[in-house]
Symmetry: D2
Subunit: 417 residues, 4 copies
């Protein structure tokens, strides 16, 4: 294991991080039924039960097996079931059929978690745990916590009864005001992660980028603005679209963001709080890169590059992250500063997910974490209302395929200065 995933925490805060992270996964499934946690609604998504088991397997595989000779797995076959994509960690069960494995049940999985928790905690307590990998495992679990919510939303959205994951309380109404532009001068500027704190390999090395002067919007594109795009025929006007994007629109019959429908002329949206009217001031969410790109062209702007976003972002601040419990993006306060950079919605950038200059993958299975995805995807920045705050950084690079819409994805406009 190389130092690409930097060790940063002493044992005591590490133990705190581990316990908090593991506990949050459990608190997230309160109110869910075994059925909710068992099914898989598409190949891209996974059952909640699988997420809970896979994140435990990660600690078992990369922490306990190498470092705890006394550890024995409750079932050696779990490695086959709960390895996601680490080819070098052995064969895996077919991804598309994770929803067909009914045993171990959620009860078995929770017992598995408890056993892993105890073993890892003891290992950390006696100073025998590889702190960098434990920390990686916690950040890994935070990623899966976000996926648990997006995947659960996708499952529930197939249910004509429209069940709500959490009490369907509406968001506070707020007028977000007109969009304004902030100017950045550019120059040769450093980007990427260069500190001692935790970051993923794909955020490194820190390096210089030549940035041209640019302007960037103070807030995300709102639902109100998106509805104007719809009403202007945006989804039907081919010249606004990348060719692959328009082909997708036509093949899939897209006419609005995912989870939207119309009832008596009112746009509705399915969310983890059930069916609710679309909030015009909240940022649009569940749009693909193709839609974000077409919208920007319609608006006479473009998406920011990931480096423009990073330079504009400043330090991580409070935001509508998972911790707010809102579970939906919410309207920005009016204001002429960089708003909504943190939380609410992931923001599509114009940057393909490619390696930074000098990027090296780690040796072994952990090296597969990010490197092998560096094709066909686009970078998103800033986290969402599904993201645990602790995992967010200015340099964090999320990535999805341009047709993906089941994530909490929105956009912010930019333009040449």
């Amino acid at each position: 294991m190389t130092a690409l995933f930097a060790k940063v925490l002493d044992d005591a805060p590490l133990l705190d991080l581990f316990r908090q992270t593991r506990q949050r996964s459990l608190s997230m499934i309160e109110g869910l039924e075994p059925e909710d946690m068992a099914v898989q609604s598409m190949e891209d998504a996974s059952p909640t039960k699988w997420h809970l088991a896979h994140t435990s397997w990660f600690f078992e595989e990369f922490v306990l097996r190498p470092c705890d000779p006394a550890y024995s797995s409750p079932d050696e076959r779990f490695a086959f079931l709960f390895n996601s994509y680490y080819v070098q960690a052995g064969p895996r069960y077919t991804r598309a059929q994770r929803g067909l494995v009914t045993r171990p049940t959620i009860c078995d999985v929770l017992a598995y978690r408890a056993q892993v928790d105890e073993a890892v905690e003891r290992l950390v307590e006696r100073g025998a745990a590889p702190a960098d990998i434990v920390e990686l495992g916690c950040h890994h679990e935070m990623q899966h916590q976000e996926l648990m919510l997006t995947d659960l939303l996708h499952v529930l959205s197939h249910n004509p009864l429209r069940p709500a994951y959490r009490k369907p309380e509406p968001l506070e109404v707020r007028d977000t005001g007109d969009l304004s532009w902030l100017v950045f001068e550019g120059g040769i500027l450093p980007v990427g992660h260069g500190e001692e704190t935790f970051a993923y390999d794909c955020e490194t090395p820190r390096h210089d980028q030549l940035i041209r002067p640019f302007e960037i919007a103070n807030r995300c594109v709102t639902n109100r603005e998106w509805i104007a795009f719809i009403e202007d025929g945006g989804y039907a006007h081919a010249p606004l679209w990348l060719m692959d994007g328009f082909a997708t629109v036509q093949r899939e019959g897209w006419r609005a963001p995912a989870y939207w429908w119309q009832e008596d002329g009112q746009w509705m949206q399915f969310s983890l709080r059930g069916a609710q009217p679309v909030d015009p001031d909240a940022p649009v969410s569940h749009v693909s890169y193709y839609e974000a790109d077409a919208y920007a062209r319609w608006a006479g702007a473009r998406l920011p590059s990931e480096f423009e976003w990073e330079i504009a972002s400043g330090r991580v601040e409070d935001g509508n992250f998972h911790e707010t419990g809102r579970l939906r993006p919410s309207a920005a306060q009016p204001g002429n500063t960089m708003l909504q950079m943190w939380g609410d919605v992931w923001e599509w950038t114009a940057s393909a997910f490619l390696p930074y200059p000098g990027f090296q993958t780690a040796e072994g299975a952990v090296g597969e974490y990010n490197g092998k995805f560096m094709v066909n995807q686009f970078v998103l920045r800033g986290g969402s209302c599904f993201t645990p705050a602790a995992q967010m950084r200015r340099t964090y690079r999320n990535f999805f395929y341009p047709h993906h819409r089941w994530q909490m994805t929105g956009l912010r406009l930019a333009r040449d200065a």
Copy 2:
């Protein structure tokens, strides 16, 4: 509602039939976990939970709604979720996505069942129930009981842990002896259902068929015989196969019956009692029509027509039905009479599932029960070890597509006399 589904039972035995049938469904799910009952492993199959709900909806839709003005459904939307294919009973949820509907949970479904049970029982008790439809509902539920087992087997077969539905006790070993042939003279003979007892519309009208002299095997084809077919290269020798059959063999990579694999030279089979060695004397099961047809050609014989089978069958007798609890086909006693006609495995016939001369469908949604399936399928006879004995008749016509293998399907040979 016409009399095509004949009323035969007075209220008291009807109530018994209803209670026994409904109770059996419940006893069948003992030991199953909510996860087992929630998932759908392919479009042809349905979740256990759905079967339990759908069979209740059937009584609600065809008995309670028309005859019990006081009845109110726990949720009007259940009709949308649990209608299977009755176009005339209203719109339905997409069949292929039954596994995505996590709510109502199994607990909710059991409560729904209890409410329907009570309402139907009260209706029957006060003589207000349409007895023919209640009886139809019971037979309908027996069909679904069989499907619950076949669909569950399919679900569990995807689990690399190979969980057993019931304790994995092996079958008694028994030497079934060589196959012998019984001769039938033929003539102009009546077939189809003509009595006052219950039967499905597709078994009527009773009518004459011109039957040529034929011979039929005393028992089903065994696993030992099937292994000889495999070892003779049967699956690779195109001239033995119907063209659509061989194309399916190649596309699907079939090399043996469904649920078979080899371990150290020994053929193994996944069953509701877990993984077990293939019993050479037991009838082969989980073979498609294509395979049955190819085997018969290889053996210098043919499949019987459904009428030959019916004529050879005599009265329904005891057999290895669901009630034996074996859950697997078992070897026939040696003997020179018609053996294994009842239970063990459904027997593919050479007859396409087509209407009998003069067949009429009932008015309304119940008329969709069988008639609309009369294309592209083949008739099977005799019931299997998954079939409740009470629903079997000499004239019972089961039907599946020629590529289907997830049912408990085998074959018996015939030839011209």
Copy 3:
């Protein structure tokens, strides 16, 4: 080679048959461009050029190779290219890619034909040819002549310029009158081929069938009647349809027969004579079994069984066969006799294509001619305006899958007497 394909002709008439048949193929391609003859519009269809080569290969493979030691093929690889489906005659080129083989060109193929013709003629002249196989080869070629037309129509139908194969002359207008019913008494009646003349193996053995009294329509269903079905919402009313049929209608978006469209309220049809208004009195054509079956149900009737059709048919008579040159079905004269039995359109029957009692396939590759297709298809009777008259017989069994529409297929109604 068994005698299943009976030898019936002496050498002199055989030579005539051979020459006429081979010549007709050539006359059929007059006016076609090399491009028209090269492309393949779907897997079910083949390029004209391929038909011309394959029918020559048939004589090469089954006549010249076994019987003419002096014969040498222009290219040994033609056997690979031009074998259709005879597994026992060696490997074949992928059916779906016949349109990708641009060489040999049409010129090369015509040279190949000429060489085969000369060799076969010499063989017949000196009495060394297997007359039954030569005759089979001629009937085989007649089948392909019909396919050449249906496949060509399919190719041309993709061209927005709507080119006509032959001069677009409209049909004579004729009022066909109301449908009337003819009654047949039934009984135990012989069906199937039992004479010394040529027939395919699947038409044998001649055998008895128990036929119930029935009525059958004097003529085929007309386009006028079909438009009434459309206008009554027939394509949208599920209870009229077999389930597989309605699923096909919805998946394919069928709203009318193949090759139909509407222009200013007028139904138009693409034909080998180009785009023409639908003739209301002509028999409907290019409908699938599913549509034929649904129409019959809508009309309160049913399709005849193949045996009812055969019994009603009497001797082959003149009809609108290929020889009339009309290339489109034409309206029947009014009259109360069995009209339009021969030519015009193939008539779907209610009979699955299955073996007759006692059916045996021939040894060797020729035995694959019909036997291996005996599943999933339905029998059609009577020939069409694309069928050479010489190949028609009362017992001739054509067969297609129930979703097929690119053939010249129509229907006639029947009902129980």
Copy 4:
């Protein structure tokens, strides 16, 4: 029309360019049969006949219609048939079915070309032609000339007879020597097109890039080196691959470059000169981006960025372009300078095809030329043995999807200095 496609030529040289370009297309089809030019072997490819017509339509649509009031098309429907993807130029015929349109024939298309040629020439002669668009049309036609060859190779490769487009003369054998590395210092360097000469919009604006020191190989990866990769198990070793790449390898069964197979231990390759042994010293061709990327990882190197390539490239020099008539990539002379930059094979770069800073599309349909493809594709540089020399530039950006292999695509290695 904006000036994005710069006018650079006076009328006289423009006329020369037009005549030479149009004439080359004709000379390229010498020896081809109508069948060769009619078929379409996959959706990505088009028939030769279509290319010939489409390039004529381009002049008709963008030059003759706007500028020559006297011009009338031979058939107004050609615009529907021969528009490729210009949404703003009107509706188009389905791309995947171009091979089904047999009329107009190749003769008709050649007549269409002649009419367009005459009209354009007259327009240029009298100074009434928009010179920038005529020049664009010539470059457009050169692109299609290259596609005609790649698409023809794909068609012929499906023919088991392996016909050769040109006489199968083998290439001169030459020992290319070991790979050596050339060092570049980097800096802030200008890239992109900034001259008055012709270039596509996507090559502009010229702008600065921050380039780090890098090394780049003196020549392309050879077939000998590629065989070493194969023999080292490269195609089976997942850690070498991007995840999407390895999934493609497994789904498609890739084991070697496209058009390769083994005969008695010797690697063979299908080419426009027929089947020939793989030349070990020639650059590997017909590899996808996925394969190029995996190879580079295996070799401990990486692909160059498109800017590194551009900086290393110097001026366009003679190379193995279409004009050499070799029609196959050929071995580089040994030497320690940048070899094989021009011609032979297109070289995959590590750069996603994205807009340059400040990129603007032209108004109208011509603006669709490149902009709408800026997603999911990678940039290739340098031209190939199929590329007309006249269209090559140091800044030329070709682009294909990462799974594409039917183009003449290879690679050159780079690494950090």
